[in-house]
């Protein structure tokens, strides 16, 4: 299919699309929970990356649910070493491939724990040394594999087992680490955020990250039904609200500067996002503390919208309502 030809009404594009064999780097049959955002995100990333890749995977749910020995869901070469060294293992693979003259692309996968926290040093070193690696962080905003403990990525006010809500505490006391700003400070060629609610945007960013020589970083917001306490059927809806409220800005950076953002056509109140998730239930009541925290989160979302200029002037094909319905396979994802 060439994009220069206008679609003919006599062709059922959706049917054609669905009949095409699609590369799958991670097969079905793995043990992820229903509605797992990370499993969905991983499949999308590998779809875009194609088969000629090597994946270095940090410890976490992804490693656990895809590789119960002697089974494996991976159809691409895949290695799991430890929690905190995915970036360094990927760097080692990359230099080896360079030394051998092999062109295979290298991906590093980690959760937010393995990226924001314990794996941060290795990530920073990999970026500083300019390894040609795409590092993908599947951000579900807590340590889910160990049973929902707070991480540096857990949003302010969210309940976890180590930031419980009680009589005197309203969930996590600290802010979500502004990792993207830290990544940006490394001045790497390409960094972006994406959401599982916008698959085609996500895939485009994976391809862009792989096309660029040098390190690239992709932060994929990936809901965890279990840890966030939302209906497994609502993974995409919840993540879409994360974007449409402004709580999770979707953008692209080159050499540390924002070059593209996904505009929000109709900004939604933060409360709509909170209401779908048990981790924020303690913030929905009428107590002064709950109200204050709610207002606080709304202010954070508003600040993101201002900071990145996320408000759409007019409807566009790449804004928060156009992005996932245009171009390919709308019916498949709609």
């Amino acid at each position: 299919m060439t994009s220069s030809e206008p679609p003919s009404p006599s062709v059922d594009w959706a049917a054609l699309r669905n009949s095409q064999p699609r590369f799958s780097g991670m097969e079905s049959g793995h043990g992820a929970c229903q509605g797992c955002g990370q499993a969905l995100a991983t499949r999308l990333v590998l779809e875009a990356a194609g088969p000629d890749v090597i994946v270095a995977n940090a410890t976490g749910c992804l490693e656990i649910f895809t590789t119960p020995w002697p089974q494996s869901a991976w159809t691409v070469p895949w290695i799991h070493s430890l929690f905190e060294n995915a970036a360094a293992v990927a760097a080692g693979i990359e230099v080896a491939l360079r030394a051998q003259g092999r062109k295979t692309r290298v991906l590093a996968f980690a959760g937010d724990g393995g990226t924001f926290d314990i794996g941060f040093q290795a990530l920073s070193g990999m970026l500083e040394r300019n390894h040609d690696v795409l590092f993908v962080c599947f951000d579900n905003e807590a340590y889910m594999n160990t049973g929902i403990q707070r991480s540096g990525s857990t949003p302010h006010g969210a309940w976890t087992n180590t930031s419980p809500a009680g009589k005197v505490r309203q969930g996590k006391r600290h802010f979500k680490k502004d990792l993207l700003a830290i990544i940006a400070a490394h001045g790497i060629p390409y960094a972006a955020t994406a959401s599982v609610a916008y698959p085609s945007d996500l895939r485009t960013k994976v391809r862009r990250g792989l096309d660029i020589e040098g390190p690239s970083f992709l932060l994929v917001h990936s809901p965890c039904p279990l840890g966030w306490g939302h209906d497994s059927a609502l993974t995409v809806a919840v993540d879409r609200l994360a974007v449409e409220t402004g709580l999770f800005p979707v953008l692209e950076m080159e050499r540390g500067h924002v070059v593209e953002t996904m505009k929000i056509r109709n900004p939604r109140p933060v409360r709509e996002y909170l209401e779908l998730q048990i981790r924020f239930q303690h913030l929905l009541g009428d107590s002064p503390e709950a109200r204050e925290e709610r207002e606080h989160l709304q202010a954070l979302a508003d600040a993101n919208i201002e900071r990145y200029g996320l408000r759409a002037e007019a409807p566009g094909p790449r804004d928060s309502e156009g992005a996932d319905t245009v171009r390919r396979g709308g019916s498949r994802w709609g």
């Binding site: 890749v53 490693e63 020995w69 070469p77 799991h80 760097a91």
Partner: protein, 402 residues
């Protein structure tokens, strides 16, 4: 060709002869000169390798893990705190059965902080699943380094070449570096059976349930049996090639029929052998040099101890609350053997304390006074806050100030 070389420079040259494609390291005293040497060889175009100057030892080990898994011969070096920071990755490399060579420039472990030599660092990771070979001198360190790549690649077990920090790494002495053609003939190009490749994708480092875990560990353990044979064969082959062997698993010399033996690891053995040759020991003594600590050659030790009434084991590391580490394993190897020698264990030369050639005779003399099973032989009680109990210890001469 013979050259006068600092130990570290000799190791850098030996590593270069093995043509690694990836070198990753983080600086720590006394390992630095090795990596600096490799960096110069690369800068001068004498070695075609990628040098990855990482942000921590943790990443140094992780980079060589990834690089070797992706099919490149890989090398790293560290010491002391660096080895401990790596320790999680060291276990992982071995469990993944990835061939890698690491030089440990042996150094004490903090606290108290000491940059000087003992064996605490490598002993701390003795259970990590790495082959550990201890070198008596720099020639042996060079030869062992080259052997290590072959042993590692044939057994799919990582090899730690342990050489005493400063005592060897910073000592200049004549070294016979083999010719490149000799090493090329000895060491075939790197091949790893499970190389990461998109042509034949494999999943490595998977989750293993209780159903299979024991079998995995058993296979790793069994690999060390094969490693014993490989270490011996590789040393023999190297001997045929260059006319020098490194002592296989355990080297026995001195007065082979003597009823008294001393066992040591690493460079202190040279001083011991010198004292023996100079007649400073005052008696016939069998000298045992343990080269391979992992695999632990229990059978070879039992054979080497035949006819011994007393065996003195020198430890240069400590398991606080227990004692010396090597001696425990020697005792374990000798357990239940009819006529096994008494094993006396002394810890000496911790944190770089000089081990003079006169000390061995004192140790041997102490054997005749029913010594404790374990003692700090070169302890100076005058430096203790309360020297009382130690100063009046029954084995007085053991604790004579030095």
């Amino acid at each position: 060709m013979r050259e006068a070389l600092e130990g570290s420079q000799a190791i850098a040259r030996a590593v270069a002869l093995c043509r690694p494609q990836v070198v990753a390291a983080y600086p720590i005293t006394p390992q630095t000169h090795i990596v600096e040497g490799l960096a110069r060889l690369i800068a001068d175009g004498l070695l075609a390798a990628e040098l990855v100057s990482v942000e921590s030892e943790f990443s140094a080990a992780s980079v060589v893990l990834g690089a070797a898994a992706a099919g490149s011969r890989s090398y790293t070096a560290s010491a002391s705190q660096g080895i401990l920071l790596m320790s999680e990755v060291l276990y992982n490399i071995s469990g993944l059965r990835i061939p890698v060579v690491l030089t440990c420039a042996n150094r004490a472990v903090s606290s108290p902080v000491s940059i000087w030599n003992d064996h605490q660092d490598s002993m701390a990771v003795r259970d990590s699943g790495w082959i550990q070979l201890y070198c008596a001198d720099n020639q042996e360190a060079v030869d062992t380094t080259i052997q290590a790549f072959r042993i590692s690649e044939r057994t799919e077990l990582p090899v730690m070449v342990c050489m005493d920090g400063f005592t060897l790494t910073h000592t200049l002495e004549p070294i016979d570096l083999p010719e490149a053609a000799q090493v090329d003939a000895f060491l075939p190009p790197f091949h790893f059976s499970r190389t990461l490749s998109s042509v034949a994708p494999l999943s490595q480092g998977t989750l293993v349930s209780p159903e299979f875990f024991t079998e995995m560990r058993y296979l790793q353990h069994r690999a060390f049996d094969a490693a014993e044979r490989e270490i011996l064969e590789t040393d023999r082959d190297w001997g045929h090639l260059v006319g020098r062997e490194c002592g296989g698993l355990l080297h026995v010399e001195g007065d082979r029929e003597a009823p008294v033996g001393i066992l040591a690891m690493g460079s202190v053995y040279g001083t011991l052998k010198d004292a023996h040759q100079a007649g400073l020991l005052g008696r016939h003594v069998r000298l045992l040099r343990l080269r391979s600590f992992r695999p632990f050659p229990a059978e070879a030790i039992r054979r080497a101890c035949t006819g011994l009434a007393d065996l003195l084991v020198l430890d240069r590391a400590l398991s606080p609350g227990s004692g010396g580490i090597v001696a425990h394993e020697i005792r374990s190897a000798l357990y239940g053997v009819p006529g096994a020698p008494r094993v006396a264990n002394v810890v000496v030369g911790l944190g770089g304390r000089n081990v003079p050639d006169g000390i061995f005779r004192e140790m041997l003399d102490s054997l005749e006074k029913n010594p404790p099973a374990f003692s700090f032989f070169d302890l100076d009680p005058r430096k203790l806050p309360d020297p009382g109990p130690d100063a009046s210890a029954p084995s007085g001469s053991l604790f004579s100030p030095r």
